[in-house]
Symmetry: C2
Subunit: 768 residues, 2 copies
């Protein structure tokens, strides 16, 4: 492919200028003429029967233009038709007979201003019959627990079980069997931006939403069915996104409320969540309890694994089952162990509907698996690095769950991070209360989660030689538009600033799947954009060949000019050619790229299959100091290496790597979305919910390992959602190395360390 | 092509509902956050040197955010580069050294509200040195007339002369030579909507205009050059148009003022003309003086024509020369006369820049030519109908100016209107003061006025089986979107209401030329849409064939289903196929149509060439009663027949035909944009400017003649801009038949009739 000039270069993000100057247009900034403001009345109880809702007084308040309750929902939405696509059906509705978590929507008001809408909520009378609530998924499964949904026995929304190889035989072959329980808590991504939804009908009955949702295409497919609108009369325009990380991915309730209110009031409406609403309603990452057994030989060879995972779906089923199961395959694929069993239960609880938050569901099992690898190494007297190198999946492997490892730079990731931290010199040899830890991770670069699991893009050469990329791939803040623009710039020989990206309007851009998997925009979208740009270049050469009376093969692209190779004084600027094509030939130069990876859908029962065209790997090492008096953990150094195939924009990839680690330190050490016994969130604000600040984030050294994935554009695969996977286990390992206790329950707070140290003390001083 | 189901049917216009309910979004309705309002300070003099402009006090007024004058114009815009494309360069600027008509832009203010902007104008001090002004083009050419532009001797902006055959020989062969002077006045289209321009820069320096201009693509090509912006950073979004008819076609000054103010203020700005500004600034139809000589044999054969036309450009040259010359070719082509000379002069005057107003410049020469045909018939004692039938161009002819007449229904048009009015029984035989008249007309169906003179369209089958037409063709209120939608509906077998039309956004839709010529949207745009729809249908069949495991040729379209012809129970709805294509194959069904007619650009010197792929004909008859006491003309009956090839929507075509006649009755009988000696418009309002009301419009009977134009879609050609061409001559002929006087100077007002009757009386009673 010759020397690359834009791809592989660290360039500022294309949206950086707008974002740092505050001029990027967010959904919050959208103001429509005559727009009303929406406020939502939410359940005061975690679990209660709703006996009546009286909105008559609110409706009479001056300035109130529409009030809706569950009774206004379209009758008989075809939920059955959606059930298959959505795993399980959340209500996407206002509560009617029952509220199942504190914060569930009961009624909504559209008024001339926010204060009036707010006031109107106080005039809505709701009669409740409170019911006992349950927050913990293991409690919820117990006999006698409050029954949240009539059709879910023991509150189990979904369970599955799959086995590869012969797990019992594997355990029989093992010299040692380790067994433990690990757990993770409810945490919230706390996106910078709050949920915003604007709905406006035009005079022809077309419905437009302006939003900051992360998956407008998904919404645009389901909403017409739920609202009874012809699909092509509904469009979603995604504005700039103030980060997302997966929170409440595809929650349709705000859309439905806004559409119903806009219809009823005959005016556009805008809903902006308060920060408190974000905490109580926008989806937290589920909690996960993982019972793990691992069989291992004396030499460290892993022979069997038995994973039992319990997660909470929240009050309604939506992505819970998908999140619970999707973490399993990368965990199973990371090591060569041939005998693996997975048993999962996704359980209803009286909390907000849970949602993915970076690396779709893998955190609970990965924390368990990697922590246990460290425990095994310790118990066998092996170096955790050596234990990994003995067992890890290698390039060319087909894993136990069917992943075809077409590239892996994991050994190099391990090597780089281990060298950086000074592993050999430090492990077990640091002064008291200091320690090092390490862990590895694997994640899908993309995932086949739909019959079509590729990407389509158009690349257009504009009349002045600038380039427009038309793609439905989403920019969530991860820099995907920058990467796709770099690819278009590379192939059409223009500087990055000459590339323009289409607005994401579902009525205008091609269908896209959204970034499911670690960084599918780069892999899938990048391939599509590259193919489109190559086709646009072919058209450019064809037009220029006609203008210059030469063959297309006689031409080359140089300094934004199409040049006759053997006679370089004969040249036309790309702009001249594009202008001629548009205005003289009326043949726009526009290439289409259609990329579909050679992957398969995971078998829905067994979960077997090569569902991604590339897998991303990571290794991390960390050095900590633990204060045994206070239990405080101080991170002295952190190294994170990702095998991303090829860094299209190293600076952006480093940013993803560092940002991902920095953010995950919150769930690991600080954060917990806490519910009281009545099922109310006790810390729904940024004072009581302890998010890491810049001061909490240690120095992080990022390594980018380029293994050249054959299926990716320029060899690239994902880099956005892998660095958070091993961080907790690496940190737990370092804490053990420092003070000799394993913390198996996130967050790893000082009180847990102190309690563990006290227990250790007690054990050591107990009579033999 | 089989039986047509949508094409050829009278269906309500697709935009009718929005328009009658007031819900169509006009540029006036666009409200942007933080938008400022613009007011313009205009020259108080028709001709004056500007000694100074002091805006300091205005700038200091609270609420004023930006003030611009000519000094703020981009320096050295590449006017030379534009000169060729624009015939001559209008200032597209605020006046600097000199103002050349009352109402010319001197300064503009953007303020928080209109009243503040208005007030600020009063604080701008302009020092003028008044100069003598000239309004009449013949006066302006005289020695000693005020010199409006330094480089235009005798104020002549442009002149040309062309001759076909041998005119002197033609006159020599004639038995009679007729010679006369005819004239038309300045009139204003008085569009329902006023000029609106909104300019907004986004954070990345992209400039968007929302407007009601009639030619966004033209503006979008010139404005970047004038503003120094990369072309692809500027787009124009055309909102619904409240009629246009050509007024100030492509005037760029409002855009430039708004762009400069938006830039200076850092906020969006909106300019809305007052009705007075419309009258004094938005282009009126030029006045035309036509000196015409016609040689004719005793049998009525026309042997030679000599046309001398003088028109006024207004204060600056823009479309003046084009309008002056473009009327010539259809006039020359209507009859078979082989010897024709044309001499034109376009003259600067101290009036607003003139602009086309229905049928681009043809009204002055057509009024002369058709009036003279009636005079000749009278003088030769022939029936005007017989004189026409003897001389008219027929299908298969190549006219003296090179038009290839591929279809003509003119004889049938004559026959229908003559029969309707009762010509044979009535002409010369009606009671005193009643009379009938007739005249004919010809116009271009489209015109090659650019190197590419075709149309490009995309037709997309949406996921629910609805159809989207993506075209840059403009809807000015003539119903073009309805016609194009009908064509798409026809080819894809859906009802009209299932077709959706793209918004006209120059950054999103393919390049289009605009409706130059009588109805090019139907001919050019219709062909493009048809080709695109046929291609979309091909793709639909290809996808369905795959789904049904049959060949595409085994399929047919029936009731919005793709059906296996020999096994009709095997069928898929179009929606199913489109959904599958979009979401499973990720191959949208989208056809592209590219149509370019086989025409040539008229030779710029001789004006020879077959510049249109079809020519539209019309014949009209009228019966009047003239009150000899008051000079009042009452129209008793009016018949207008147009040969439009094929009526795609008969109801809409009838509307065009009737509307065109009804509107032109204003210029013929009532209207005149009057200037006083100081060059000020004396009637810039709808009270003093006498527009015909519904009560002034007589019963009009519309005939649609279908000659099946081989180059048009389904045989269609134009119908929008031809019915106004012969109306004045037909009316003048009827007045002659009623009271025996020829009025050769529009408008045909009672005072002129009374004067002519008095002169006739004098002549008849004069001693022999």
């Amino acid at each position: 492919m010759g020397r690359l000039s834009v791809v592989g270069t660290s360039l500022p993000r294309v949206d950086a200028w707008d974002k740092v100057t505050g001029r990027a247009e967010y959904a919050f900034d959208v103001e429509l003429p005559d727009m009303l403001h929406v406020k939502v009345l939410r359940s005061a109880y975690a679990h209660a029967r709703i006996l009546s809702v009286d909105t008559s007084k609110a409706q009479g308040l001056p300035g109130v233009r529409a009030v809706i309750t569950g009774a206004d929902m379209p009758k008989d939405p075809p939920l059955e038709a959606l059930r298959n696509e959505l795993y399980a059906v959340p209500p996407f509705s206002l509560a009617t007979d029952k509220a199942r978590y504190t914060g569930e929507e009961i009624a909504a008001v559209a008024a001339e201003d926010e204060l009036t809408a707010e006031e109107a909520l106080q005039w809505i009378r709701v009669e409740y019959e409170p019911l006992p609530a349950v927050i913990d998924p293991e409690e919820a499964m117990k006999p006698g627990a409050p029954q949240i949904h009539d059709d879910a026995e023991n509150n189990i929304q979904y369970e599955n079980r799959t086995e590869f190889g012969d797990v019992e035989k594997g355990f029989a072959e093992a010299d040692h069997v380790f067994e433990d329980r690990f757990s993770t808590q409810l945490v919230h991504p706390c996106t910078l931006e709050r949920t915003v939804c604007i709905a406006a009908f035009d005079s022809s009955g077309y419905l437009t939403f302006y939003d900051n949702s992360i998956d407008p295409y998904k919404q645009s497919r389901y909403l017409p069915k739920l609202l009874g609108i012809e699909p092509s009369r509904l469009r979603i325009v995604q504005k700039a996104i103030g980060s997302n990380f997966g929170a409440l991915q595809g929650n349709l309730t705000p859309y439905i409320m806004c559409a119903l209110l806009a219809k009823k009031a005959g005016r556009p409406v805008k809903l902006v969540y308060t920060r408190e609403e974000e905490f109580i309603n926008a989806g937290p990452r589920h909690m996960g309890v993982c019972y793990l057994r691992t069989g291992v030989k004396n030499d460290g060879t892993v022979t069997a694994r038995d994973i039992r995972l319990i997660t909470n779906a929240g009050a309604y089923g939506y992505l819970g089952p998908a999140m619970m199961t999707s973490g399993f395959t990368p965990c199973a694929g990371l090591y060569r162990c041939p005998n693996v069993r997975f048993e999962g239960k996704c359980v209803y609880t009286n909390t907000a509907v849970t949602s993915p938050y970076r690396s779709f569901g893998i955190v609970p099992p990965a924390f368990a698996m990697e922590s246990m690898m460290n425990i095994i190494a310790e118990e066998l007297g092996m170096d955790p690095v050596a234990l990994r190198l003995k067992n890890i999946t290698r390039q060319g492997d087909v894993t136990v769950v069917g992943q075809e490892i077409s590239s892996s730079g994991l050994p190099e990731c391990i090597e780089k991070t281990v060298a950086h931290i000074g592993w050999k010199e430090k492990r077990g040899r640091l002064p008291p209360n200091r320690g090092v830890g390490m862990a590895c991770g694997m994640f899908d670069s993309e995932v086949r989660n739909a019959p079509f699991a590729g990407s389509v893009a158009y690349v257009k050469l504009l009349e002045d030689g600038r380039v427009k990329v038309i793609s439905g791939e989403f920019e969530w803040g991860q820099g995907s538009r920058t990467v796709l623009s770099q690819i278009a710039a590379e192939e059409l020989g223009v500087p990055l600033e000459s590339v323009l990206f289409s607005e994401l309007d579902t009525a205008a851009v091609p269908y896209a799947l959204g970034p499911y998997g670690g960084g599918p925009v780069t892999l899938r979208g990048g391939n599509a954009v590259r193919l489109a740009a190559v086709e646009a270049r072919r058209q450019l050469f064809a037009v220029a060949a006609g203008m210059l009376s030469v063959g297309p093969d006689d031409l080359e692209l140089k300094d934004q000019k199409v040049v006759v190779r053997d006679d370089p004084v004969r040249a036309l600027s790309s702009a001249q050619v594009a202008h001629y094509a548009k205005f003289i030939l009326a043949e726009e130069i526009i290439g289409r790229g259609h990329f579909e990876p050679d992957t398969v859908m995971r078998d829905p029962k067994t979960y077997y299959g090569n569902y991604s065209s590339g897998y991303t790997f990571t290794a991390q090492t960390v050095e900590v100091a633990v204060d045994p008096e206070t239990g405080q953990v101080r991170i002295l150094d952190f190294a994170s290496a990702i095998d991303l195939g090829k860094a299209i924009n190293p600076m952006a990839a480093d940013g993803q790597n560092e940002g991902c680690v920095g953010q995950e330190l919150g769930p690991i050490l600080l954060e917990s979305l806490a519910y009281d016994k009545q099922g109310r969130v006790v810390n729904p604000n940024l004072v009581d919910y302890r998010l890491p600040t810049a001061l909490d984030v240690p120095p992080i050294t990022s390594f980018l390992v380029e293994s050249h994935e054959p299926h990716g554009p320029y060899g690239a695969k994902a880099c956005g959602q892998v660095s958070n996977i091993p961080a907790a286990a690496a940190l737990a390992g370092a804490i053990y190395d420092a003070v000799g206790v394993w913390i198996k329950d996130q967050p790893i707070t000082p009180d847990k360390i102190l309690r563990a140290l006290a227990e250790k003390e007690k054990r050591e001083h107990a009579p033999a």
